[in-house]
Subunit: 670 residues, 2 copies
Amino acid sequence: MEELGKGIIEPEKQMKQDESGIRRVAAIVIEKVYPEINGGTFAAKCIAGDKFFVWADIFKDGHNIIRGSLRYRRKKSTAWKETPMRLLENDRWEGFFIPKENVRYLYTIEAWIDPLRSWIQDAKKKCLANLKLEDADLLEGLKWVKALEPKVKKRDKESLKKYFQQMELSQGAPEEILRIVEEPVFQKLVESYPVKQETTRYHRTLELIVDRKRAEFSAWYEFFPRSQGKRKQVSSTFKQCIQRLPDIKKMGFNVIYLPPIHPIGTTNRKGPNNTLTADKRSPGSPWAIGSFEGGHKSVHPDLGAIEDFENFVQAANDYGIEVAIDFAIQCSPDHPYVKQHPDWFYHLPDGSMRYAENPPKKYEDIYPIDFHCKDEIALWKELRSIILFWIEKGVKIFRVDNPHTKPLPFWEWLIDNVQTKFPEVLFLSEAFTRPKVMRYLAKAGFTQSYTYFTWRNSKWELQTYLEELTQSEMKEYFRPNFWANTPDILPRILQVGGKPAFKMRYVLAATLASNCGIYSGYEFCENVPLRENSEEYLNSEKYEIKVRDWNAPGNIKDFIARVNRIRSQNPALHHFKNIRFCHSHNDNILCYAKKTEDNSNIIVVVVNLDPFRVHEDTVSLPIWDFGLEHWQTYQVRDLLTGEKYYWKGSSNYVRLDPRNEPAHIFELRK
Amino acid sequence: MEELGKGIIEPEKQMKQDESGIRRVAAIVIEKVYPEINGGTFAAKCIAGDKFFVWADIFKDGHNIIRGSLRYRRKKSTAWKETPMRLLENDRWEGFFIPKENVRYLYTIEAWIDPLRSWIQDAKKKCLANLKLEDADLLEGLKWVKALEPKVKKRDKESLKKYFQQMELSQGAPEEILRIVEEPVFQKLVESYPVKQETTRYHRTLELIVDRKRAEFSAWYEFFPRSQGKRKQVSSTFKQCIQRLPDIKKMGFNVIYLPPIHPIGTTNRKGPNNTLTADKRSPGSPWAIGSFEGGHKSVHPDLGAIEDFENFVQAANDYGIEVAIDFAIQCSPDHPYVKQHPDWFYHLPDGSMRYAENPPKKYEDIYPIDFHCKDEIALWKELRSIILFWIEKGVKIFRVDNPHTKPLPFWEWLIDNVQTKFPEVLFLSEAFTRPKVMRYLAKAGFTQSYTYFTWRNSKWELQTYLEELTQSEMKEYFRPNFWANTPDILPRILQVGGKPAFKMRYVLAATLASNCGIYSGYEFCENVPLRENSEEYLNSEKYEIKVRDWNAPGNIKDFIARVNRIRSQNPALHHFKNIRFCHSHNDNILCYAKKTEDNSNIIVVVVNLDPFRVHEDTVSLPIWDFGLEHWQTYQVRDLLTGEKYYWKGSSNYVRLDPRNEPAHIFELRK
């Protein structure tokens, strides 16, 4: 009985029934909390130091004035902090806090009735109708002002006393009451020392993953460490990879992602262009992990020793570049696990081990893992130990291969488990599967996700896809990483569009999203497919060692470097949710703006999506959002070329010739 | 350990952690279940005998074929029934069941992997690529076909055996395997006897309130029982009310709603037009409930005895009309509760009892109840006993006065409690408050709700409001009742628009919604407001006894009767969610269609929203939805006038003169 309306109603008591069947439900309704992923099953995500906004519908029967606050704390702490929410309109409330640490946080909402404000509200209405407050009514008000007494700090005691006496003396005269309740000092007292009645807590405590900035802002460069040398068919080493770092640094990348670096199986090894018979010189696919030389915790001997890898990581870090490695859970038939733990794999009714397949395709060089085998706990722990092993070697980013073919609960467990100890570790999900599965992987904990960007080409496709990523609930948990190409995907636009297409697609990847990547070769506009209508590369590096001239003529290294420099220097491009598309008439002209909250950095990108033809258009900017009036002239400076234009009003002319630059990246200056 | 992947994973085990910290999460993801009101906190609503549809996203890692089923049962039963769901697209599944009884139901979802179907899917791909199945692969298929053996009914045993043998003999030859798996009889076996693996239940069991049809389809007529006589300033009796039934029946109403029928207090009784001083002949407001003659369980002596009320209810029922009474939780100062339970009321600091107010308005003739007083359990039970008392007297519908000023948890408790024993009882929520509070009342259990219809006049207002009611989640729990007027609300359109406005607004109320109502006087186009810019009636019946000539010239009783007859005779108008707006160019022409699922009844309503002027237009019907081709001629018959037109294609001409009829209600015949 006692808890109803008296003091804080703890959530667990809200739903209890007493013997009479009367349900003890919260006095104040708190619902439609956002973000709240899958009813609180999953965590939202944000970046340490950024504002994290929370909304909720908060209301109650009757006309009392209610107030709400957002409560939050580090998950490992016990002390809640509190920040007031504000009423937007129509019972919708908003609040935010700034989580400063790269750890997991919790947040929830509290609401209460403020009887003093409620009294003031009613008294004002009466006074404005020139009605004298009755004695009992005035006594009520005095009671609530008195209730502030034990709360107020010393410096406010005097003024509180003064107002109390003035109210007492007023005898309920409307003009006097009005004068008091409208005095700023009085209002400040009411604001600073809320009287709380029927305090209600939201019945869920929600989780927030607070990542470091690299989770949201990164530029990835993928290379095969064995292909960084100069001798045909000879694997390069991590030592040689270190020589490549200045070049990659110069292009402006801050993450290097390496396909699997482990020993490669020989049984059923794939030959060039994914043929079934490999000759002795075929190096095999790095994804056919494991040989007599070791498994997931070993380095391919051709690349060097573990120490060489550690040195490479250190050298990269010295350049401000992080190294991401691949986590591909599968084993070649020669992997030590196959002999040590045959029960971790699938078996056919005839007792043979089942290799991977995606009918009618067969992958005889790898065995998938049976995550639900009898020995699953030992298996899951061993898989976790692989991650922990590489963390110890200095790796903080894992690109996970095909996570959608492994149990979703496994990722949920693994990522939470690893990040609890190492919150700085990031996981990138390589999944190009059904949209709901991709989303679920992000909910399950992946820090970043591959996307469909690689296949989105038209203005309509790009715009609707970006709106889905940045304006739906997805933005709270799914961080897109836009890859312009990968070793598996040479999209058609790059096959046919030549250098203008490579430049255009990199501008899109780098400015539409705040995480982007290319696979090496992109800077040389490599564009020969395995065959017509294939997205595979001819002579794919997956099955061969490649030798490249890193300064081959016709490369776009300088262009990429410029884009990446622009990205680094403009905070508006460090976020992905702040995108706003601008109207243009021409279906080949895509225009969008990104800006910082305070308008100190405003970037407008205009891209010609057609790599073959010149296009011109007028584009319409939301200048009122930029703090500009329709009559004002402002400068837009193309950060790619340095050219300046003076624009006026919302609509202005653009012309893009793909033979020059396929895009403008304008900085708008008032 | 054992439960993972073996047999049914019960929801409560899904979230458990074992000692290694590995979370036991469902093998198959079931999310975005719809309807699921506030994460399952509240029940959805439907009508007994109607299809109840449920949707969910269901998916899993990997490529296995999964299946889903919708499980449901009466809440009081224990045996679940199951009906298969079907995949729509993109991992979205749909299922439905038909709850036949007017009780509460539960529903949830189950999903599983079908290993036989998964094998068939892969085998087909291999066979189509003309690959022979390997022995181990064939053995795998045979294993799953064998798994059907214990499941199949006797009549299917032979064919199962036949296919098993044929598969065995095939030696994996692709053409033979293809032939078998594509045979309809084989497919039927696979369909009828699913092999289930990793069966997963959705972790929530959701509730469904199954109401009787009157909850969705009703026409209400509100009258003051004291005003049904012929003598000025003399209350009529329930006996006299019985005389009024044929007239109301003829107009086609099936619910009569009576404002409070209880004794009325004399202390601070309100006089005519809500004046503060009542003379001796003032009958008082029926909402000032309670006097020395009794309270909420008594009948006003001027109306007769309880038995007279019971006779009135019986007489109405004989005409197919139900009687709804008002449940207004407040007391006049003379109510017996005030003396017996002074602690149930609010007190001011000076000890005086607090009357109701909505500052600066005062209602000195009533005291509100303090629902959270110390004696709250006894209070809540007493309030429930009022409902039970009137149920015993034959009342099955309660119109609840101002529910939004009483605690929301009270309604949740009361309605569930009453309907568990008396599921046929309906509650109408009279709340014109903030939208989220109105919605919450419906979630808390109210069967029907007053709406903002009374103030929605323009085409844009009506269309957007109806779309909100019928195309958002609201439709699953909020059943609108469209009142054209109430004793409190004489909307401006009726004050100025004359008879055409009264006709037009009734057509809208009766055909936009499937529950509608008028307050008596409407049929005589009574339209004099208390003063300019007031929505109150002059000489409001709330404070006076009215005498009317029930056949006064200029009435629209025949028109109302026609609309109500059309409504009864056309099943398309018995629902509210099936509305579809049709394009028209003229902002004064509103056009919408309603149809039965099987197209056997198609109604097209065209309304001239301007009561002053003739309007004409072409309206565009979605004829393809009606099963018509663009070249087909079809008949539309105006059910109001009997006139027939022959229309062709989507766009056709209409002209509406408010001096004749302000609307067409067309029946479309092919």
